[in-house]
Symmetry: C2
Subunit: 682 residues, 2 copies
Amino acid sequence: MAPRQKMDINQQTATDMKAARSRTSISVQTVRNYLYGGQEVWDLHERLEKILVQESLFDKQHRDFLGRTDQFIRAAAIINRLDELRRMHNWSEEEYTTASTLLSETISTTLHDRAFQPVFLGQGSPALMESYWDLVHEKGIQGCYLQTELGHGTNVASLETTSTYIPETQEFEINSPSLTSTKWWVGALGKSATHGAVQAKLILPDGKDMGPHLFLVQLRSLEDHKPLRGITVGDIGPKASGGMAAQDQGFARFDHVRVPRTNMFSKFAEVTTEGSYIQPPHAKLSYGGMMYIRATMIPGAGWTIAKAATVAIRYTTVRRQGEPDAKGLERQVLTYPSTYYRLLPILSRAFVFIELGRYTIKALTQMQQRLASRDTSLLPEMHALLCGLKVFVTTHGIIDIETARRSMGGHGYSAFAGLGRLYIEYLPSATFEGDNFVLDGQVVRAATKLCKAVLSSALVVSKLPLPSAYLRLLSTTGEAPPQVTASTWHDVQSVVLLLEWRAALMVKNFTQTPANGDVDASVNQRLAKAVTEAFIAAQVGEMINNLANLPSEDAKAVGCLYKLYLLTCAESALVDLLSVGLIRHTGAGDPTQDLRSAVKALCIEVLPNAIGLTDAFGFSDWSLDSALGVFDGRVYEALWQRVQMEPMNKDEVTPAYAPYIRPLLQRGQAAAQQKMKLDSKL
Amino acid sequence: MAPRQKMDINQQTATDMKAARSRTSISVQTVRNYLYGGQEVWDLHERLEKILVQESLFDKQHRDFLGRTDQFIRAAAIINRLDELRRMHNWSEEEYTTASTLLSETISTTLHDRAFQPVFLGQGSPALMESYWDLVHEKGIQGCYLQTELGHGTNVASLETTSTYIPETQEFEINSPSLTSTKWWVGALGKSATHGAVQAKLILPDGKDMGPHLFLVQLRSLEDHKPLRGITVGDIGPKASGGMAAQDQGFARFDHVRVPRTNMFSKFAEVTTEGSYIQPPHAKLSYGGMMYIRATMIPGAGWTIAKAATVAIRYTTVRRQGEPDAKGLERQVLTYPSTYYRLLPILSRAFVFIELGRYTIKALTQMQQRLASRDTSLLPEMHALLCGLKVFVTTHGIIDIETARRSMGGHGYSAFAGLGRLYIEYLPSATFEGDNFVLDGQVVRAATKLCKAVLSSALVVSKLPLPSAYLRLLSTTGEAPPQVTASTWHDVQSVVLLLEWRAALMVKNFTQTPANGDVDASVNQRLAKAVTEAFIAAQVGEMINNLANLPSEDAKAVGCLYKLYLLTCAESALVDLLSVGLIRHTGAGDPTQDLRSAVKALCIEVLPNAIGLTDAFGFSDWSLDSALGVFDGRVYEALWQRVQMEPMNKDEVTPAYAPYIRPLLQRGQAAAQQKMKLDSKL
């Protein structure tokens, strides 16, 4: 073998990144403004990040070296500093929310802002608001939301904590009657919160159980932060793989703790001084909060996936492996089909979920305006849609982060790659705000109900709510399913229609199964996915239409991504498409080949813009906190620099040497000498 | 709502677990001996675990509270103690290996035992063995294996580290010519190892580059453990989500470090004193080591999945959620179709992989015996098979652990559930010992080659090596593909045959694609999966036949599991089965329904034995280290006890209060007062 031409692989990384940027056909700025929803939103983002980056406390590079307690203390310091900055710069609500999101840190006040505060706004009586709102809003108290118990999660009806009304003193007595009634998993409860909104079964003086209601309970003293009498409270310990280490999820037990009658969150249901219960006008009026949280999870998933896509696409652009070419250059890892086939669909989902979030939050706002005037007609459909979307985006979010991490090979397993942290912090989203496998059932229930109405002509298809528009296809007067040909995959509307047909036929088949019929064990998961994908596909069709507002090169590049989303969605739906007969094996080769080839062709079309499209997310190196995702591509230098910070490297000889390693080696050396002696004697 | 009957949910857990045990129809002991490969293997296991459990140092319950440095120091202490025990009890190789596996701890000597030592045995010259073997074997020195560099992993040919022969002094000069040539990811290198087997390009005195060879290099002094001159060495920092925290993966750079000529591992290729190169007789003779590691990964995956299955099946047996029945009991989570459909196939894979491991290691031993007599005929087929199996079992292992964790809902995200740690430590197996996506390509290459030979009749099908027996179906004189009916799914041999046909047809289609033809981006992944699954299916068919040796109830229960494996494998292969036309949509309903219903029916058949079958793995509570997987089912008590150990709970008031939380609250209280004053003025 002749000596190979010298090649500085490290220098080459920067060259590769520059070349990739020069290849892009889009205006990064235009696409960025599109993603952010306007230049002014980006400007706000940039202005706030400039402030945050200057704070040495907000530096992320040393997080990975901290134990859990130190991570918690750092988070408390960050919360305090963020509050100082808010006051110093006189931030608006929007500015404060943007800044906390930008921080990308697990901090316990998120629960205060997004769970505790909304309970006051949504369900606080005027009297309660009068006494507490300013304190809540100014964080003069810190709140948490106590729902889940050791024995029960999703099934709120089975919670065991009681709140018994005592008419004599006009108080509620909060009590934990058993070990399993211990409140558990409550964010910010462990070591931070002073107050909590406690879900407890309301027991009337006559012993009647009115089911779960919310009560404000002070947990810790405002003088010295000690837990109040009758309250046992603490942290529930570390999470899987060090997830959310900085968060103090807590437990709490109440031993006959009294709170005034006015501490019930009683905007919709209340207990009179005598102990009579006044019915809520509509039980579902309080659903808005949970639905809003689920809706924000859609763009949340989009931006999370965007981070993973950015890191992995940048790294695989500069990482080279394989047979060297004439110039001595190995192949860029991203150009291998097995790599781009994994990463570009992830990129497409990031774009789709970000846009989809905008649509959903708008639709939800409309619904909430109607709710405010006590019109609940949009509620069931919106509830089912949000269940389906929540399941869909979180399931993908988790897989996509891990797929991106794994595409980076060995270095992807380094904490410095940044995706391990992203994954483990995002992971519980499959379980919180409703376990995904439970929510699937709700999607199916709603779809079946509407489907039956359509099939029995009880519902005219023109009256179908938008998210269930796919059911129009089941109308007796409607069209027949389309014929799939190679050209189907090149026409957006055909693909959308096919995905709608797939959902319609699957739901129809299921609806028509006799009550004792053969329903398999994964049917809810498959149906919920089909229904949700039909809805999203139609939305993506809209998104593609709306791209007309962008300059043509940008519209083309983003349009390609959206098409890639649709095609990979269809590819993952192939079993269904074949099962319901929308695609058939006719004997002329593999009927899935056209689709698979179209996916590959689209990937190849997206590839030159991959770096430009990830740049459009506008992530700074500070924000990504990844040695492999650095903007300039100099990944090896970045890894090397990070490694020098490792605390174990401060000692030339590890403290484990004297007590443990030396004795081990010395015993081994003595035993070897002994053997050699024996050998020489033989 | 009438007050519900009081039910002690905590007491109920133990009742549920007892009831589940009484329902099982198997002899746990018989199935356990089957899994372990005999009563005497189990006895060894039990005898050794009794010794290990007594060591307070080996207690696992406090691991989750330790920072990384402390985890490393604990691991060093464990290594030292394990060595003391080995000498104290005069353990054989088998006993020592069993004990280290039983420990279930990430310890750096694993690399010494499984990578460093085998290099000596496989490639050490007699002279090197003479000087070093006793020291190596007695751990008088601690070794590591330096292959991966910062810039290169899988592609060994591109490694940059050089070893230049200097005839004047009869030495090799090891050198790291660039940043990217820094050795990286090397287990035990960071802070432990004294010596390393270094992969470096051998450069002859005439400048000729002979490609990568192995050299023994001392890294640290045996006097004081300080790095030797010319060697920069350290730890590469934390891993994703705190994975393998106790392991000191390290980096090393060599600045013209000299070692004697005899330090080359030169059993197969050597450099003479003058600097001439003597060719290896067969380059592949040294492949045995890597293949053995891959083979052990098969049962390794089985036992890892077994742990996850045990924890999740135990927890979902005692966890109850949903509408209470007449007795006030909610439904056991495991009895929900969406739960057992996820968990029982995992259980089936644990059994299959454990058995499959036994077969593979046996086949490999046969091959190695032939290799010893320089017969390499079995090597290519065995290499491809092991690539495919490695990909298959690790890919499943990772998904299965996470599926099991997620089936446990919220508590599954607690570190005390134990599966977070299991997952993150197992995760890199998708990447090490050959990146799964790279290995897929090797499987396809081998399959295509054999397929072409069969199609061109260059190879008589009776001569097909066993792992590729499925290709016999392509013989021109062979049978036609079978008709699939509902009864197909009730006949083991029919399912096996179908999975073989699927692989055969897919490989054939691919082989016949013209050189410039339309190959999609995921084809390697799909083909490798189909080929590997065909092989495993045939093996599982054999396993079912061999069950005749067990008592009938045990054979029936294990047989059910094996059938479940085959059916869920077919279910996951549905796209392929439909694409190649083995299953067709005939217009008479969903052609996949029979299979899906058969899967559900089998799950229901397995269900009453689920706890018995997991008990048969013989895991102790110490070994599982999971509050949710405790043998007696008292999961809530176990969680409660663990939480009391959380270090953050030692302080009634967190140290974060005075510096950070108090100022935050006080600022908020002052601002709220200010507002109230303003309000009262208005």
